[in-house]
C-alpha cells in the first residue's frame, strides 16, 4: 500500500484531480458532458501515440518521429484508397495505414538496433526523411474528400449529448480504439516476456544481453509497434478532423513526450506504466483545452505547455536526484 502511495502515478493522479477541481471552480462548464466529450475527443490521438512513445521510453530510447509517421501513413493510405476508389469498411484504411506505419517504424528500429545509433538524434533524422519524402513524393495538398469508410467512422458516436445551443456533441467511437490499445499494451507489458524484456532492456542493457535477451529483436519490435500505433492514430485523426492535411500532427511530439514523462515514466528508461501514461495524457489535454475555459488567450498555450513540461520533469528529476544521492555507490 505504501508503495502505491509513493508511486509517481499516484502523484500525477493527485495533480490531475486538483487541476480539475481548480478549473471546475473557476468555470463550471468544465464539468459538463460536452466538455468531457471534447476532452476525450482531443485526447484520443495523443493517447494512442503516447502508448507507443511509452514503450520506447521504457526501453531507454526516445523517438521523435512518431507524429511524422502517423501523418505519412494516413496520407499515403488515403491516396491509395482514393486511387482504388475504395469506399468500403474503414478497417482497410486502418490496416493499410498501420502497415505503412510499421514499415517506417521498422526502418527506425533497424538503424537503432543494428547500428546502435543514439535514438533521439536518429529519429530526428528519420523524421526529417519521412516528412521530406512525403511532401516531395506523395504530395502537399490537403485531401478533403476522404474515403467514405473513414468519414463514417469519424462520425460514428458511442453516446450523444446536446448542449445549451441545441448542438449535438458526440463521443467518438475512436475512444474505444484508444482504450482497447491501452489494454492490449498493458497486457503485453505486464504479462509477456517480451514486455518484461523491454523493461529489462531499459533497466540495464548489458545485463539484458547477458541474460540472453534478444535485444535486436526487441528493439525492432518496439519501433515497429510504434509505427503501427502511429498509423492507427493517423486514421483516427483524419476521421475526427475530416480531412488529411500533410502538415498536421507534426509538432505535437512535444505534447506526447510530455504526457508520457509527466505520467511517471523515466526518460532514462526502465520505469513507466500505461496507467501513468493515460493520466499524463489527461493532464496535457486538460491543460491544452482548458486555457480557453479559464479565459486565457490561445497564444499563451505554448508558453503554458513549456512551463508544464518543465514543472513536471523538474519535480521528477529533483525527486530522483534526492533518491539517488541516498543510494550512491555502495561498496
Amino acid at each position: 500500500m505504501k508503495k502505491i502511495l509513493r508511486s509517481s502515478e499516484f502523484f500525477v493522479a493527485l495533480v490531475v484531480m486538483v487541476l480539475c477541481i481548480i478549473i471546475g471552480l473557476i468555470n463550471p462548464v468544465f464539468f459538463s458532458w460536452e466538455n468531457l466529450f471534447d476532452l476525450l475527443r482531443s485526447g484520443v490521438v495523443t493517447g494512442i501515440l503516447a502508448l507507443g512513445c511509452l514503450i520506447v521510453i521504457v526501453s531507454g530510447g526516445t523517438d521523435v518521429s512518431f507524429a511524422t509517421i502517423a501523418i505519412f501513413a494516413v496520407y499515403l493510405a488515403s491516396k491509395i484508397l482514393i486511387a482504388w476508389q475504395f469506399d468500403g469498411t474503414v478497417l482497410v484504411a486502418f490496416l493499410l495505414s498501420a502497415a505503412i506505419g510499421t514499415v517506417l517504424g521498422l526502418f527506425n528500429g533497424a538503424l537503432i538496433a543494428w547500428f546502435r545509433l543514439p535514438t533521439m538524434i536518429v529519429t530526428l533524422g528519420t523524421s526529417s526523411i519521412f516528412r521530406g519524402a512525403m511532401l516531395v513524393f506523395i504530395g502537399t495538398f490537403i485531401i478533403n474528400k476522404l474515403p467514405q469508410g473513414i468519414l463514417a467512422f469519424g462520425q460514428a458516436t458511442l453516446a450523444q449529448v446536446s448542449n445549451a445551443n441545441g448542438a449535438v456533441i458526440g463521443l467518438p467511437v475512436s475512444v474505444v480504439i484508444f482504450f482497447g490499445a491501452a489494454v492490449l499494451v498493458w497486457l503485453m507489458m505486464k504479462y509477456t516476456m517480451l514486455g518484461r524484456g523491454i523493461y529489462a532492456l531499459g533497466g540495464d542493457r548489458v545485463a539484458a544481453e547477458r541474460a540472453g535477451l534478444n535485444v535486436i529483436g526487441i528493439q525492432l519490435f518496439i519501433y515497429g509497434l510504434v509505427g503501427f500505433l502511429a498509423g492507427i492514430s493517423g486514421v483516427v485523426h483524419a476521421s475526427l478532423v475530416r480531412n488529411v492535411n500533410p502538415f498536421d500532427l507534426i509538432g505535437t511530439e512535444m505534447n506526447v513526450i510530455a504526457a508520457v514523462v509527466l505520467g511517471g515514466a523515466r526518460i532514462t528508461g526502465g520505469r513507466g506504466t500505461v496507467f501513468g501514461t493515460i493520466l499524463g495524457v489527461m493532464l496535457v489535454v486538460i491543460m491544452n483545452n482548458s486555457l480557453i475555459l479559464l479565459g486565457i488567450p490561445s497564444y499563451w498555450q505554448r508558453a503554458a505547455i513549456g512551463v508544464l513540461i518543465l514543472l513536471g520533469t523538474g519535480i521528477t528529476a529533483w525527486q530522483s536526484k534526492r533518491e539517488s544521492a541516498a543510494n550512491l555507490l555502495e561498496s
Partner: protein, 362 residues
Amino acid sequence: MFDKLPSITSFISRDRNIGRLLGVALFILIILSILNPGLFLTVSNFKSMAYQLPEFGLLAMAIMIALLTGGIDLSAVGIANLSGVLAALTMIRFIPQGAAGWQITLVIGAAVALGLVIGAICGAINGFLIGRIGIPAILATLGTMQLFTGISIIITKGYAVLGLPDAFLYFGNGTIGIFPVPLLIFIVIAVLFALLLNKTALGQELFLMGTNPTAAKFTGLDNFRLTLKTYMVSGLLSGLAGLMIIARTNSAKADYGASYTLQAIVVAVMGGVDPAGGAGTVIGLVLAMISLQFLSSGFNMLRVGGSFSNYFRELVWGVVLILVMVINYLDAKKRARTPQESGTDAKAQMPDTAAGAGSAQK
C-alpha cells in the same frame, strides 16, 4: 593539442574527419559548378550564401557547445527569436521620429545589449535546470523551447515586428570592402569560440566533462558551473544569432527558423561532434556548414513547383545525418579492432560488445 603549432598538412591528416569534410565540400562545389555554372559560380550566389550562413553558423555553434558537454540545446532557435523580438521592439519603441544620430546609436546599442543579455539569461535558465535540478537536456530544452517561443508569441501576439532603423540593418546587409558585415562578425566569433574551446581551461574542462562527467566530478571539476557556463555561452550565441536574423530580414518573428535546429544538429554531427559528448572541432563544423550551404543553394536552383526544393532539402538533411552517423559507427568499429599498445597485459575489465558497455541512448 599540446604539440607545437601544426602545419596545414599535418593538421588535415591528423584528423581524418576534417580531411574528409574538406573533400566533401570541394566535391559538392565542383559538382554544382558543373551542373549550374551560370548560376552557382556567381559572385551573387556566394554573396547570398555569405549573408545567410552567419546566423545559422552561430546557432550551430550554440548547439555544438551543448553537444560537447554531453547535452543538447533544442531551445537555441527559441532563444534567438526571443532576443530578436525584444531587441526589435526596443528599437522601434524607443527611437522617436527624427531622432539624432547619437540617440539612434544609443538605442541600438541598448537593444543589442538587451538581446545578448536575454540570450545569456535564457541560457542560464537552461543551465540551471539541467545542471542543478537534473532534468535531462533533451527534456529541459524541449520545455524551454516551448516556453521561450511561447513568450515571444505572447509578446508579438503572432505578428511580425517590422521597421527597424537603417543603421541597424547595416549589420545584416552592409559590407566592409567586399566582405559582408555578418560574415565578418561570424568569422570573429568563430575564432573566439575556437579559442575558448581549445586554448582555455574552461574549454578543455568542457571536453573532459562531456567525455566522462563522473570522472570529471571525481577530478574536482565543478560540473554544475561548467554546465551553467556552457548553456550561457549557448544562449549568448543564440541571442547574437537572433540579432543577426532581424538585422538581415528586417523583421522579428516568434517562430522563425524552425528547421534550423535540425540543420544545426546535422551540421554538428557531420562536422565531427560526438552526439554523446566529448569531441568536436570548430573547423569541422565550419566545413560541414559550408558543404551543406552549397547543397542548400544548389537545391534552390532546382526550382520545381516552388517549394519543392524546401521539402527535398529536408529529406536530404535527414539522409545526410543518418549516413554520417552510420559511417562514424562503422569507422569506430573498424578502429576498435586495430592494435594500439604492444604489451601482454590483459585488461581487467572489458566492454562486452564492440560499442562498449554503458553507452547511453539519448
